[in-house]
């Protein structure tokens, strides 16, 4: 199936390093085959499909408000971005490419990768986490197997929801220093898309998929670093998912419908006494923030030295320093011996490069640590801030715009004409009434 591309450099063959034999029988030298890489146009096709899918998802969520449509789109994304493109490059991984491009001036970032990074974020600034809703193959995979959703206790959810930001920080740290793309390396679902992979990755993918049956989108909520970025963008989004476009009857059906813990219930303004206490606490937390930043920065700096060993050059320098003075080996050399041999040919360069990388890691370590401190500080502040709300509405940062809650809202059903409006008025007092609902 491979197209054989002939070597174009026929002229260069005339000037070979050392002439091959002249065959008396006139034997012609074969040409080395070079099956071409995936065509560049296909990369742009991917970007096009991404853009179209995002647009379609916006339409489905905000205009059609259709869960069914989103399921179909999810399956398409899973097939196209997941199984067809093997999940690579994806928006989640692309953030590392961008970080590397920022950290390494010599790294040229392909435009397609940049588009994968920017498009979902730009959309999120206007329309929330539309990308998660039906375009991301990782999300689609988890969403499709979510069969028996359990609710994660809110406290635990709050604690776990800082993890994506930490993972984001670590991913950026390692990518920007050119050490590793840890987000790709430990991506649990890419092996599923490729139908092969390291045992560790396959097993972690299987475990996470198993978990996704009971816990809604565990990777998206508690790990995904790109999700963290999307969450920030979605928090200020212009258009938000609203359970009902009309009046909320406070029937609380939607609250139970959300498997991702994103639904927020109405909250009254606190009384003056509580208010004062909250403000005092908030003041203390704001004072704590610089301390957290500084402490985190210091920890990050301490962490930077061992972390730098993830960089191949630093680990090679490590190997070199350890092996100093030891006699060279001959015979069957292991990969490490060979790497050491290479290092010994230019020890100065290796050491200098390693030292430079370690210096960059030290700076990166301060920033990473401060980021960790900031994340915890801001999270503590945000859970302490009181936001009065009148209606049930999804938290725009946490909502994946999966459109599940729409189908549960009686107002919505009336709007669609599925049920007559009269049922609603009849039901309303019953719902807002005291406990003791008829559950038969």
């Amino acid at each position: 199936m491979a197209l054989l591309w002939l070597l174009s450099a026929v002229a260069s063959l005339a000037e070979q390093r050392f002439p091959p034999p002249d065959f008396e029988g006139g034997h012609q030298l074969p040409v080395t085959t070079t099956p071409p890489a995936r065509a560049l146009t296909l990369d742009y096709l991917d970007v096009g499909v991404l853009g179209l899918s995002l647009g379609l998802a916006i339409w489905l969520v905000y205009r059609r408000r259709s869960r069914k449509g989103l399921i179909v789109l999810s399956i398409f994304s899973l097939l196209y971005f997941g199984f067809w493109r093997h999940g690579c490059v994806c928006a989640i991984g692309s953030l590392q490419n961008v970080a590397l491009a920022l950290g390494d001036r010599s790294y040229a970032l392909p435009l397609a990768v940049l588009a994968f990074f920017v498009l979902p974020l730009a959309v999120a600034i206007f329309a929330g986490r539309i990308f998660c809703a039906g375009v991301c193959p990782h999300g689609a995979l988890q969403d499709l197997v979510l069969l028996k959703p359990l609710k994660v206790p809110p406290g635990l959810e709050a604690a776990l929801s800082v993890l994506p930001f930490l993972y984001l920080g670590a991913g950026v740290l390692f990518a920007a220093t050119g050490s590793a793309f840890i987000i790709c390396e430990y991506d649990p679902f890419v092996p599923v898309f490729r139908l092969s992979g390291r045992a560790l990755m396959v097993l972690s993918g299987a475990a996470l998929l198993g978990l996704s049956i009971f816990v809604g989108r565990p990777y998206c909520r508690f790990l995904c670093p790109y999700g963290a970025l999307l969450k920030l963008a979605a928090a200020v989004a212009k258009w938000r998912v609203r359970v009902t476009p009309d009046n909320c009857t406070q029937c609380r059906l939607c609250e139970a419908s959300c498997p991702f813990g994103a639904m927020r219930e109405p909250q009254a303004r606190p009384g003056t006494q509580t208010h004062a206490r909250d403000r005092r606490r908030l003041g203390w937390l704001l004072l704590l923030l610089p301390l957290l930043l500084a402490g985190g920065g210091w920890l990050g700096y301490r962490f930077s030295a061992p972390a730098s060993r993830l960089h191949p050059t630093v680990s090679l320098a490590d190997l070199l320093i350890r092996a100093q003075g030891s006699p060279p080996k001959i015979g069957a050399l292991t990969p490490d011996d060979l790497a050491l041999e290479r290092a010994r040919q230019a020890p100065q360069e290796i050491l200098a490069a390693a030292a430079a990388i370690q210096r960059r890691f030290a700076i990166g370590g301060w920033i990473f640590g401060a980021w960790v401190g900031l994340v915890f500080g801001v999270k503590l502040i945000s859970v302490s801030v009181h936001r009065p709300r009148t209606d049930y509405e999804p938290d725009s940062g946490d909502c994946f715009a999966c459109a599940r809650c729409f189908e549960y809202c009686p107002n919505e059903l009336v709007r669609r004409g599925v049920i007559p409006a009269t049922t609603l008025t009849a039901a309303a007092p019953e719902i807002s009434g005291p406990p003791g609902l008829d559950r038969s």
């Binding site: 406290g155 604690a159 003075g325 503590l380 859970v383 609902l437």
Partner: protein
Amino acid sequence: MLTRLFQVEAASPPRQSGGETVLLAWRLTAWVAGVFSLLVGITLLVEHTRAKPNDLLQPPQLIAAKEQLRLDPTNPQLKQDIRELDWRLRQRYFRHLALMGFGVHLLAGGVIVLVLAMMQAARCRKRVPLPGPKAAIPHPAARFAARARWAVAACGIVVGSGLFVLSRALGPNLPTPAAELDKLLATRPEESSSPGHPQAADAASLAELRQNWPRFLGADGNSFSPSTNAPASWNPQTGAGIAWKVPTPTRGFGSPIVWAGQVFLSGGDARQREVICLDAQTGKILWQQPVASVSDRPDRTEVPDSTGYAAPTMATDGRRVYAFFANGDCAAFTLAGQPAWARNFGPLKNPYGHATSLATWRDRLILQLDQGESEDGNSKLYALDARTGQTVWQRPRKTGATWATPNVIDAEGKAQVIALSVPWVIAYAAADGAEVWRAECLNGEIAPSPACAGGLLFVASPSEKLLAIRPSGQGDITQTHLLWTWEDSIPDVTSPASDGELVFILTTSGMLTCLDARDGKKQWEHDLEMECHASPALAAGRLYLFGQKGTAVVVAAAREFRELFRTEMGDAFHASPAFVQDRMFLRGMTNVWCVRTINEAGKEGAQP
């Protein structure tokens, strides 16, 4: 009522009895698909683990069969067996590949069916989520906020301590922090550009030093001469190969040093110390300078007769010669014999008399004055300005008297002064005397000097063990940089000799051992049956040994023992020989000898 309301939406609910059947069918499908997927998954996992490509393709039996064929190269049956085995193995490997590919698709199909079935089953059972009674909690938001705060704080503590533990646990093993790497790199250009070094002009280059014999045990302190035509044999009786022989002009145990056609000896007694320069061509005394009244204090050093005043060997940097005497006198002369400077470091407290020889590094004279007991705190290492004798740096040493000579080595571009003490081998930076590393491995009365060759440092703990140390690292390197030890027939007086490939050690009783420098494996040992105080020396692929009673032995510096030459000199030797090109210089108790390569005699002189 609400139930009815939602039944409209909840996926066209089938009638009760039909629904049950469908549900059952989907459940059964789900179970079957689940079990199937699990089985396939386990099979794949097992197959994946069991069958690494190398196990499949290069199993021991194939390797063994090929080995067998090597021993029996004409056996046709064996060849046939190998071919069949090879065929089977390759088939097995590609079967494995096909199986894995097929299995993965099977698994994917199974999982898809499982998920679909479970979805359908769930749809069949779908009931309206009815919100329960609103829990009557007083301030739900405040309670949630409080819990969330605690949870986040706990998570923060876990993450923070995780980072801390991680940096602590991995920290100490860290290669070298950036700052130290920088230091390492920063020192290198300065070291490597030594010819352009402003001070280097006042000292000979290392290449020049190696062409001569500027100090005890040669330029590198490892008793190795780069000479390729050192004398292989001579005859003291007939005088064949003896270029000259003159009566030893002064008493002393120090070895001769040679620079540019001049041989230097020091000697003396309580009354008078002196430095003597002989012509390397003829043995004539070129100049003779007394070293007197260096100190205006009365000399209170007790010097035993067995070592005398001139046990330390002189040293030269190619510009001046330096001599040290057991009473602490240190004197420098120009090559022409003009006194340059003199200092007294006495009195020295030493039970056998001070015997440590001198070393030079660039334009500095390295002086190791270990004395008394460890507690006295009188031991010091000095670097003197070779032009003036002024101290450039000094380091106190927590050790008692030792007799080994310091060695200046090049460790990855940095010059280090290796000085032995009990129990430490310590490396000081030659530039500023800062301690670089130390290794705890010595015991007893330290007399054998450290030799460095082939990037390794060979140190003898007298009569106990010989150690090979990688002279690198920082701080205490005892656990990390000791490459090997050897514990048999260890010298207590003589120093090891090495060309970087082999190490030779010689005990006082004459047991000569040859070890592989890289791994310390014994190549051979041989009893020379003579008492030796002179250290063995290597030149032109031969090892030269001189007994106290005058026996001279030459053996091949090779991996098997071969005695090449043996003769009686009729002299007593305590000093080690010096080699320069085709000449060998010996200081006996009665005569100073110059032995010269016979077959080349007359064509190539020692030095113009």
